[in-house]
Symmetry: C2
Subunit: 146 residues, 2 copies
């Protein structure tokens, strides 16, 4: 068995800033859904760009979302995960959209009309590390200077 | 922009069988949660082992769950994801638990009393591939002979 450690808030924030892809969980009338997304962190919030017509764009514009990123190294049996939960809002104001784009425009790989920006306020932020003696922040899959 | 392709059912099943870690989305009274888990595939169902006292063990024993696995290659801008959704049930019968353990016992890295087995019936199974000209099944992070 590998031991588990809680990550600090600053470690969680650093891992969030370093990432590019994550997964969003949302509740819908027919139960929970999970959607892989590209994201960025702007002014401390997770910004997700999605299609206005998909399940996330339809049911995830308001209320509460959960967002997760992780990294696992199966050979070394170590890993980390960070979960952010909080209220979400769609960004409609053109000036706000321009601000988000200026700071960092999420560039979803997938084609399609991903014209909806969602801002997740990370009211709850927690993370865990499996295995000790290493630093998840310096082993993140993608490093980005923020 | 990278193009998107739907994965076939057999590709989705092969990727599910090849994986070790995924994420579960569930609806709870205070909104959606997302929980990283170890899992295995037994008799066509996703088997998740968890603590009976965590959020998944408390609110995810019945009803509907969504389960996701993915793999992204940021440098090559390609990736894949598979999502399974369906009804979940806790496995209580000792013979069933023994059967699950015989076929493949999920070995969560994290310590703790993960004594609850959940079976997710994959009523909906879908997957997507970003980028063409490569086979996600042969680029899965972990290969396991089933």
């Amino acid at each position: 068995m590998t031991d588990v450690h809680e990550l600090s808030q600053s470690q969680c924030e650093a891992l969030l800033r370093a990432g590019v892809t994550g997964r969003v969980a949302l509740s819908t009338p027919d139960g929970p859904h999970i959607v892989p997304v590209n994201y960025s962190v702007v002014d401390g919030s997770v910004i997700i760009r999605t299609s206005p017509y998909g399940v996330l764009g339809t049911y995830g514009r308001e209320g509460v979302l959960a967002f997760e990123i992780d990294g696992f190294d199966h050979e070394r049996q170590r890993g980390w995960s960070v979960v952010a939960r909080g209220r979400v809002e769609a960004i409609h104001d053109p000036e706000e959209v321009e601000h988000v784009k200026r700071v960092w425009e999420p560039r979803p790989w997938a084609s399609g009309a991903r014209t909806l920006f969602l801002r997740l306020h990370c009211g709850e932020l927690s993370g865990r590390q499996l295995g000790s003696g290493w630093d998840p922040v310096h082993n993140a899959p993608v490093r980005r200077v923020v």
